[in-house]
C-alpha cells in the first residue's frame, strides 16, 4: 500500500509485548488496521489470509466428517436422516477438496515461501495474487451457500444424470467450484511466471530448492487442467438451466462424457494436492537429517514426470464404463505413475540413511507422511489393476485409499510444513513436546479411522451408503472411535500453534539451520522480505551452518573452520 506510515513500534494485538520490544518492523507490524490487510499486495499477508481461510474450511469439513462418522455408528438412523447424510458427505468432500486441499499448500504456504525462496520481493503479479484470494472467497461463498439453499446431495463429483435432475443446489455449488478454479489458475500462472522470470542470477533450474520444483510442477497442472473443469461445469449448468443435451441421455447426451471431462481435471487435481506436499517432505527430510538431499535431480524430474503422467490416467475412474481396450491402456498408464512416486520414496529413505536425525515436530510429520503415503500408494495399485478393481471399486477400500493419500499424505505434509515455516511466518517457536504429541495423536487416530475401512471395503461395504448390514457394524464403530482420536490430535495441533503466538519463544532467523534463502531474513520478514539482497548459495549446504547455543540461531560457519562439529538437537 502506498500510504505512508511512520515507524511506530506498535504491536499487533495477538503478540505479547515482552517478546517484541526490539523487533524491527515486520510485515505483520509495518501497517495496521483491517484495510491494510484487505488491500495488501504483500504475498506474505495474502498467504496468511489464505491460511486463515483454508483452516476455517478444514474445520468445517472436519466437523462434517465427524458427523458422518457418528451417523455410521449404527446401521439405519443414528443422528440424522438419510437425506441429511447425503448432503453431509457431499459437502464434506466438496469443501475438503475444493476449499481446503487444493489451495492448502500452494496458496497458503507457497504464497508465503516462494518469493522468499528466490530472494524476491514479491510474486510476479501481486494484484492477480490478491484477486485470486478474493475469487477464493467468492467461490467459497457460492459453495457454502448451497448448504443454506437446498443443500447438495450429488457427491463431490457432480455426476450426471443425477446432478441434472436432483432438486438440490447444484448450480450454486458448481458456480462456486468454477470461481475457485479461476483462483487456482491465477495462483498457477503467478508461480510459473515468478519462477521463470524472477529467479536471481546464479539460481539455475538445478539450484532451486525442491519445494520450488514441486510448486512449479503443481502450477503446470493448475494451468492445464483447471480450465477443462471450468468448461465442464459451465456445460453442466447449461444442461440444468437450458437442457442442452450434452450430458443428459434423455436429450441424446452422454453421461459418461461428463465423467471423462470431470476426471480429465480431477485426476490431475490429485497431483495438484500431492506434488507440493512431496516438495515439503524433500525439504523436511533433508533439513532434519542434516544431510544433503539424496538424488536431487531425480526428485526434480520425478515431480515433472508425475505432473505429465497425471494427465494420462483419468480413464481409471471409468474402468467399468469404458471399452476393455481403453481400460487396459489406462491401467498400464496408471501403474507408470508409481515409478516417479517410488523414486521419491527411495530418495527420501536414502537421505535418512546415516543422517543425523532430529525428531522435531516437522520431522515427525514428514516420517508419518512417508509411511502413510506408501500405504496409500500401494493400495492404489490394487485399484489400478483391472481384476481387483472390479471387486473393490466404489467400496470403502477406495475411501480408505484416497484418505491415506490425501489426508495421510497432503495433510501430514501441510501440517509439517506449517510447523516448519511457522517461526518464519509469525516469529514464534512452538512447544516441541506438544507438537510431537499432536503428531502422535494424528498418526494413531488416522490409522485407527482408516485402516478398518480397507477391511470394510474388501468385505464389500459400498461407499456413500447410509445403511449397512449388521456384520459391518464392528469395523464401523472402530473407525468412528478412531475419527474422534484423530479429532483430538488435530485440536492439540491447533492449540500448540495458537499457544505459540501468545507464549512462544521469539524465533531466530534460522532456527533449523537451513541453507534456502527464506531463512536468511528475520523471522518474521520485513515488508520487502530482505534488508540486503541475499547471495545465491547451494540450497542443501547444511554443513555450512553451526548452532549458536545462546541465541538458538544457526549461523554460517566462518570460512576456514571445517570442524565436523555436530549440531546439537534443537531444544524444545
Amino acid at each position: 500500500m502506498s500510504t505512508t506510515t511512520e515507524p511506530k513500534h506498535r504491536l499487533p494485538q495477538f503478540i505479547s509485548p515482552r517478546s517484541t520490544t526490539e523487533q524491527p518492523l515486520s510485515y505483520l507490524t509495518a501497517e495496521r488496521g483491517i484495510r491494510s490487510w484487505l488491500f495488501t499486495l504483500d504475498h506474505k499477508r495474502i498467504g496468511v489470509m489464505y491460511l486463515i481461510g483454508i483452516l476455517t474450511s478444514f474445520l468445517m469439513g472436519g466437523v462434517m466428517a465427524l458427523l458422518v462418522r457418528t451417523e455410521l455408528l449404527t446401521p439405519g438412523p443414528t443422528i440424522m436422516d438419510a437425506d441429511t447424510y447425503n448432503h453431509m458427505f457431499t459437502l464434506h468432500g466438496a469443501i475438503m477438496t475444493f476449499l481446503f486441499i487444493i489451495p492448502s499448500i500452494p496458496a497458503a504456504l507457497g504464497n508465503f515461501v516462494l518469493p522468499l525462496m528466490i530472494g524476491a520481493k514479491d510474486v510476479a503479479f501481486p494484484r492477480m495474487n490478491l484477486a485470486s484470494l478474493y475469487l477464493w472467497v467468492f467461490g467459497a461463498v457460492f459453495l457454502v451457500a448451497a448448504m443454506g439453499l437446498n443443500g447438495l446431495d450429488t457427491g463431490w463429483t457432480f455426476y450426471t444424470p443425477y446432478s441434472t435432475t436432483t432438486n438440490s443446489s447444484v448450480i450454486s455449488a458448481t458456480m462456486g467450484v468454477f470461481i475457485l478454479g479461476f483462483s487456482s489458475i491465477f495462483t498457477g500462472i503467478n508461480f510459473i511466471a515468478t519462477v521463470h522470470t524472477m529467479r536471481p542470477k546464479g539460481m539455475t533450474w538445478f539450484r532451486m530448492p525442491l519445494f520450488l520444483w514441486s510448486l512449479y510442477a503443481t502450477a503446470i497442472i493448475q494451468v492445464l487442467a483447471t480450465p477443462v473443469l471450468g468448461i465442464t461445469l459451465m456445460l453442466l449448468i447449461a444442461e440444468r438451466v437450458a437442457g442442452i443435451g450434452i450430458f443428459d441421455p434423455a436429450l441424446g447426451g452422454d453421461p459418461v462424457l461428463y465423467q471423462h471431462f470431470f476426471w480429465f481435471y480431477s485426476h490431475p487435481a490429485v497431483y495438484i494436492m500431492i506434488l507440493p506436499a512431496m516438495g515439503i517432505i524433500s525439504e523436511l527430510i533433508s533439513t532434519f537429517s542434516r544431510t544433503r538431499i539424496f538424488g536431487y535431480r531425480f526428485l526434480c524430474y520425478s515431480s515433472v514426470a508425475i505432473a505429465l503422467l497425471g494427465f494420462l490416467v483419468w480413464g481409471h475412474h471409468m474402468f467399468t464404463s469404458e471399452s476393455a481396450m481403453a481400460a487396459v491402456i489406462f491401467s498400464a498408464l496408471t501403474f507408470s505413475v508409481s515409478i516417479p512416486s517410488g523414486i521419491k520414496i527411495f530418495n527420501w529413505l536414502a537421505t535418512l540413511y546415516k543422517g543425523s536425525i532430529s525428531l522435531t515436530t516437522p520431522m515427525c510429520f514428514a516420517l508419518s507422511f512417508i509411511v502413510l503415503f506408501a500405504f496409500g500408494g500401494l493400495t492404489g495399485l490394487f485399484l489400478g489393476a483391472l481384476a481387483t478393481d472390479v471387486h473393490l471399486h466404489d467400496t470403502y477400500f477406495v475411501v480408505a485409499h484416497f484418505h491415506y493419500v490425501m489426508m495421510g499424505g497432503t495433510l501430514m505434509a501441510f501440517i509439517g510444513g506449517l510447523f516448519y515455516w511457522w517461526p518464519k511466518m509469525f516469529g514464534k517457536m512452538y512447544n516441541e513436546f506438544w507438537g510431537r504429541m499432536s503428531c502422535l495423536g494424528i498418526f494413531v487416530g488416522f490409522n485407527w479411522t482408516f485402516f478398518p475401512q480397507f477391511l470394510l471395503g474388501t468385505k464389500g461395504m459400498a461407499r456413500r451408503y447410509y445403511n449397512y448390514k449388521p456384520e459391518f457394524q464392528g469395523l464401523h464403530v472402530v473407525s468412528t472411535l478412531g475419527a474422534f482420536v484423530l479429532g483430538v490430535g488435530l485440536v492439540i495441533c491447533a492449540a500448540v500453534l495458537v499457544h505459540s503466538l501468545f507464549r512462544g519463544r521469539k524465533a531466530p532467523p534460522n532456527p533449523w539451520g537451513v541453507a534456502t534463502m527464506e531463512w536468511e531474513t528475520t523471522s518474521p520478514p520485513p515488508v520487502h522480505n530482505f534488508e540486503d539482497t541475499p547471495k545465491v548459495t547451494d540450497p542443501y549446504d547444511l554443513e555450512g551452518f553451526v548452532l549458536n547455543e545462546t541465541s538458538g540461531n544457526y549461523e554460517r560457519r566462518p570460512a576456514g573452520i571445517t570442524s565436523s562439529q555436530k549440531p546439537s538437537e534443537v531444544k524444545a
Binding site: P115, A124, F125, I189, V223, I231, I244, G245, L251, F261
Partner: protein, 224 residues
C-alpha cells in the same frame, strides 16, 4: 521482438512495479503471464471442441445436414471482419512501439468497431435461428431433420453451435472491454516505445479470440 524487449529497458519508472529489478524483467513476466492465460483459454475451448468431435463422430450425418441450416454468407463476412480487426490490433501494437500516438488511437478504435459489428451480425444470425426454432436440444422445434425417439438429433448440433459461438461471443465482449481500457490509457498518453506491455498483451488475447473463430467457422459452417 528482442530489439523491442530490450528497448523496454529504459521504461519510465512510473510503470515499473517495485518488486521487479528492471522494466525488461517486468515485460518478460507480463508476456509470459499472458501466454499462460492463453493456454488456459485454449483448454477452456478445448472441452467444447472435444464435445464437438465426440458427437460429430457418433452422428456425422446429423452434423452435415444441420450445418446447412447455418448462414454461410454471414459467417464468412464475420470471418473477414475478425481478420481485419486482427490486422488493426497488430497495427496498434506497432504504432505504440513506434510512438505513433494518433495511429494507435485510430487502430484501437477500428478494432473495437469491428468487434461490435461482429457481435451485431452474430445477433442477426441468432435471431434467425430463434425464429426458425433451430435451437439447442431441449428447445429444438423445427421439422427439418428426422425426429428420433422423442427428441431431434439436430438439437445436439445446435447445442454445440450455441455453446461454442456463445462462449466465443463472451470472449469478444471481454475483448472489447480490454481494448477499451487500453484505448483509454492511450488517450492519456501512457504508451510509447518505452512502455507498451498492455497493448501487446491485450493484442495477444485478441488474436487468440480471432483464432478460435478461424476454427469455429469451417467446423460449424462449411461441413455441409
Amino acid at each position: 521482438m528482442i530489439a523491442e524487449a530490450s528497448s523496454a529497458t529504459q521504461a519510465p519508472s512510473r510503470f515499473r512495479a517495485h518488486h521487479f529489478e528492471t522494466a525488461e524483467q517486468q515485460y518478460a513476466a507480463s508476456k509470459l503471464g499472458m501466454w499462460l492465460f492463453l493456454v488456459t483459454e485454449v483448454l477452456f475451448f478445448g472441452g467444447l471442441f472435444v464435445a464437438y468431435a465426440v458427437f460429430r463422430t457418433l452422428h456425422p450425418e446429423v452434423f452435415m445436414n444441420s450445418a446447412q441450416l447455418l448462414d454461410t454468407r454471414l459467417g464468412a463476412i464475420n470471418t473477414v471482419i475478425l481478420l481485419f480487426s486482427s490486422l488493426t490490433m497488430a497495427w496498434a501494437v506497432r504504432c505504440s512501439q513506434l510512438g505513433q500516438q494518433r495511429g494507435l488511437v485510430i487502430c484501437l478504435s477500428l478494432t473495437i468497431f469491428a468487434a461490435i459489428v461482429f457481435l451485431g451480425i452474430k445477433g442477426v444470425e441468432y435471431s434467425h435461428k430463434w425464429h426458425e426454432g433451430h435451437l439447442w436440444a431441449s428447445q429444438y422445434s423445427s421439422g427439418d431433420a428426422a425426429s428420433v425417439g422423442g427428441f431431434d438429433r439436430a438439437g445436439t448440433f445446435f447445442s454445440i453451435y450455441f455453446a461454442m459461438t456463445g462462449l466465443h461471443a463472451i470472449h469478444i465482449v471481454a475483448g472489447i472491454a480490454a481494448i477499451g481500457w487500453v484505448l483509454m490509457r492511450s488517450l492519456r498518453g501512457d504508451f510509447g516505445p518505452n512502455y507498451f506491455t498492455p497493448v501487446d498483451t491485450v493484442g495477444l488475447y485478441w488474436h487468440l479470440v480471432d483464432l478460435v473463430w478461424i476454427f469455429l467457422f469451417p467446423l460449424l459452417y462449411l461441413i455441409g
